[in-house]
């Protein structure tokens, strides 16, 4: 069991367990926190794959801001233990479960078989990617994908304005009178 393998298996176990608890937890706050946990573990996984900047961003942006947003909203709603966490309808539930299971099986089957073709060259290429790929990311992001970057800026602006308008529209402390 090499160190890397151990790290990978440990982190993926954490990710899977917290992912499961996101779905299974009755109390939404716990599921939110477990989701934060998943994100941090994923960030660690990213770090193992050399994407340090993305890992940092993941933690700062995703775990640090988006999840905090969720937690704030949850706390504002003061949602406690949910008695009926899952939607009604046994049959539809069963169908959904079966469907997702089958889908997962299919995808995994495809991945394990198909990717084998991909697997071969990866060992060779691994070296090509620099140990810390943040610099490469920055270069390409601001050269080839600068338009995308600006578009994202605009998108975020639009979202900010939209969210404020939406939140203020109906009732509440800052509602338009």
């Amino acid at each position: 069991m090499t160190a890397d393998a151990f790290i990978f298996w440990f982190l993926s176990l954490v990710a899977v367990m917290s992912g499961l608890s996101v779905v299974m937890m009755a109390n939404p706050i716990y599921s939110a926190l477990s989701l934060a946990m998943t994100m941090v573990s994923l960030a660690a996984l990213f770090a193992t794959m050399g994407a340090y900047f993305i890992a940092g961003v993941q933690v700062i942006v995703y775990a640090g801001a988006v999840m905090v947003l969720f937690v704030i909203v949850l706390m504002l709603f003061d949602l406690r233990e949910e008695t009926k966490a899952f939607t009604r309808g046994q049959i539809s539930g069963a169908i959904k479960l079966a469907m997702v299971g089958f889908l997962a099986g299919l995808v995994v089957f495809v991945l394990t078989q198909g990717v084998k073709l991909m697997a071969a060259p990866d060992v060779v290429d691994a070296a090509k990617l620099p140990e810390d790929s943040s610099k490469a990311l920055g270069l390409i992001l601001f050269n080839r994908h600068v338009f995308g970057f600006e578009a994202l800026g605009v998108l975020l602006l639009v979202v900010a304005v939209g969210t404020v308008a939406l939140a203020r529209s109906k009732g509440g402390t800052h509602a338009k009178q």
Binding site: S92, I95, K96, M99, L103, F109, V110
Partner: protein, 645 residues
């Protein structure tokens, strides 16, 4: 004056009169619209007189004024121009139409004075005259057909003038539909003629008509002319399609006078005279025409004797006189038919207007049983009516005698004629004399049966002047066509003006082979006049001296009398055989096919759509998780498909 200008004013002045009255029919008062319409027709009368004067001046062989305004229709071989022709035949017609028309317009100013829609009435009258002129002046069958239809329309409008009254509206509808049936046959005839002869122009048709008469019934000329004749029976109210004329009396009396006595009904005869060469080429059709003419004369006269409504009696008399004209045309005496047409126009218009003034005086009372002894109250109407009566029963000096006797003589003597036809003619004449005298007796002579509250008075000057003019015409009219026999005994041997006028234009059966003995003519004339005089006296005796005798006779005859008085139940016959089955057939056609078959299928389609819609609607629950599940299922399906392949 150049002819096209004259022709244009002749045609357009009634049309302009129609437009003015038509568009201002609410605003124009009775006097304004009346005098406007009358002047319009008077202008046409003047133009036609000028045209005829020019015509007379022309050399005999090509007496023909043809004017063409614009090319109306040019389709492949068919080239129709809006061409109008005045030749000896149409000259008589336009003079009669505009002349009598003007008098009738004058009369109706007085007669229709109290009516609400007077302007509308005069607009229709003007439109009618305009269409009649087109019919008469048209140089091709198609232009004539335009007038033919226009006239039909106007007769419908005028008969149903007081359309608020259901029966009058129904009468208008009946007239229009029966005419339409006739027109259909007319159209078929036109198609057939065009197909075989390639043209519809009268002049060309007469040239192209086969010289040797066709023997078979299915020859082009015979069949074509037969169909045209059926059209004519519709318009001129002969045996199969005459039912609309008696009901047409529902219209105002001047209308009956103008349309149902003088002009429209004569259109059929004019058409036959126009295409005389074509008809001569079809002896079978001529025989049919003669027989139907005689039969109609007899039948109508018999019904006439049993009618109590003054206008109904006159209507049946018109039908029978038209029968005489067809009889004349049938035996090839086209000239005499035109002559009788002219004289009939005068005295029948006179009698209709006379009855109009009587009705006007009796405050819309039309039943002669409630009249009698009006001589004292309405002297002018009585005298003019008296002259008309003498004319119609055929007393020698009057117009009727000359034209009717000529017809009877031609029926006997013409190569196409037949003694039987003459017998029918004489019988008709006897009956005509009887019912006309009966009418005169019951309305003017004898005791007055006028109900107390009614005070008959003489009509105003406006109405009596036309009566007087027509009275003079019905006396003088006859002298235009004195035949040889009579002219030989008269001082100065006056020539047969009409004979010379129409002769060159008409193709009459050649008389070489037939021996025309004068004595025979005189004998027949004596017989017919004598019989007519006797029946007149009998009728006088019945209805003036002893009014109860006709009562006894009618009971004695019993069923026969009732049958005749019910117009031989012809209306009921038609209703039973044609109308009711047709209506029944169309009703169940509607009931079963339309409702059951067509509607049901469309509803089926609609239901299918709705059903399909509701099935799909089930998917739209709004539950987002269900949508997510469908996405998942779709994904699974695609993936498994991709993998399995």
């Amino acid at each position: 004056m150049n002819h096209s200008l004259l022709m244009a004013t002749l045609l357009l002045s009634p049309f302009v009169g129609f437009l003015i009255n038509g568009f201002r029919y609410r605003k124009n008062g009775p006097n304004l619209s009346g005098w406007l319409a009358t002047t319009a027709i008077a202008i046409s009368f003047i133009c036609s007189v000028l045209l005829v004067a020019d015509l007379v001046g022309m050399p005999v062989e090509n007496r023909r004024i043809a004017v063409s305004f614009f090319d109306w229709l040019t389709v492949d071989k068919l080239k129709i121009a809006a061409g109008f022709v005045v030749d000896p035949i149409s000259a008589i017609m336009i003079l009669v139409i505009t002349g009598v028309g003007t008098l009738i317009h004058l009369f109706s100013i007085g007669y229709m004075h109290h009516d609400k829609g007077v302007a509308k009435y005069f607009a229709y009258l003007n439109l009618f005259v305009f269409n009649m002129l087109i019919l008469v002046l048209g140089d091709s069958l198609l232009t004539m057909f335009v007038g033919w239809e226009g006239v039909g329309l106007c007769s419908y409008l005028l008969i149903g003038f007081w359309f608020t009254d259901k029966d009058k509206a129904a009468a208008g509808m009946k007239a229009f539909i029966t005419n339409r049936i006739g027109d259909a046959a007319f159209l078929l005839g036109m198609f057939l003629l065009f197909m075989t002869f390639g043209t519809l122009n009268f002049h060309d048709l007469n040239q192209l008509a086969p010289t040797l008469p066709e023997a078979s019934w299915l020859g082009a000329a015979t069949l074509g002319t037969l169909l045209l004749f059926i059209g004519a029976t519709g318009k001129s109210a002969q045996i199969p399609l005459y039912v609309w004329l008696p009901d047409a009396m529902a219209g105002p009396t001047p209308v009956s006078a103008l349309i149902h006595a003088a002009t429209m009904v004569t259109a059929g005869i004019y058409m036959i005279v126009r295409l005389n060469a074509m008809f001569m080429a079809a002896p079978n059709t001529m025989m049919v025409i003669a027989v139907i003419g005689a039969a109609t004369a007899l039948m109508a006269a018999s019904i006439g004797m049993t009618q109590w409504d003054i206008k109904k009696v006159l209507a049946y008399s018109t039908v029978s006189q038209l029968g005489y004209m067809f009889l004349a045309a049938g035996v090839g005496a086209f000239g005499v038919a035109m002559f009788h047409l002219m004289t009939h126009a005068f005295f029948k218009a006179l009698m209709f207007l006379g009855s109009g003034s009587v009705i006007h005086a009796m405050h819309e009372e039309q039943d002669i049983r409630k009249m009698g002894g009006l001589k004292k109250y309405m002297p002018i109407t009585h005298i003019t009516f008296f002259f008309g009566w003498l004319a119609i029963i055929g007393m020698p000096p009057f117009a009727g005698f000359f034209s009717k006797d000529e017809i009877l003589w031609k029926a006997m003597s013409s190569p196409l004629g037949h003694p039987l036809l003459w017998v029918a003619g004489v019988l008709g004449a006897v009956m005509t004399a009887f019912y006309m005298t009966r009418l005169m007796a019951l309305t003017f002579w004898g005791k007055s049966r006028v109900p107390k509250e009614v005070h008959p008075h003489e009509s105003p000057a406006l109405m009596t002047i036309p009566l007087i003019v027509l009275g003079i015409l019905s006396i003088v009219g006859g002298w235009l066509g004195i035949n040889h026999a009579i002219s030989s005994i008269l001082p100065g041997h006056p020539a047969n003006v009409l004979e010379h006028w129409l002769g060159p234009v008409l193709l009459e059966p050649s008389l070489e082979g037939v021996h025309q003995s004068m004595t025979m003519e005189w004998a027949l004339m004596g017989v017919s006049v004598g019989l007519a005089a006797i029946s007149a006296f009998v009728a006088y005796h019945f209805y003036v001296r002893s009014p109860e005798t006709p009562q006894k006779i009618s009971e004695a005859l019993g069923p026969v009398y009732r049958l005749v008085s019910k117009k031989y139940l012809v209306d009921e016959l038609y209703a039973g055989t044609i109308i009711n089955p047709l209506v029944a057939f169309s009703r169940n056609l509607w009931q079963h096919i339309d409702v059951q078959v067509i509607d049901k299928t469309t509803y089926l389609l609609a239901d299918l759509m709705k059903g399909g819609g509701s099935v799909v609607r089930g998917l739209q629950t709004g539950n987002m998780q269900q949508y997510a599940m469908y996405i998942g299922l779709g994904l699974v399906a695609i993936l498994s498909f991709v993998i399995m392949r």
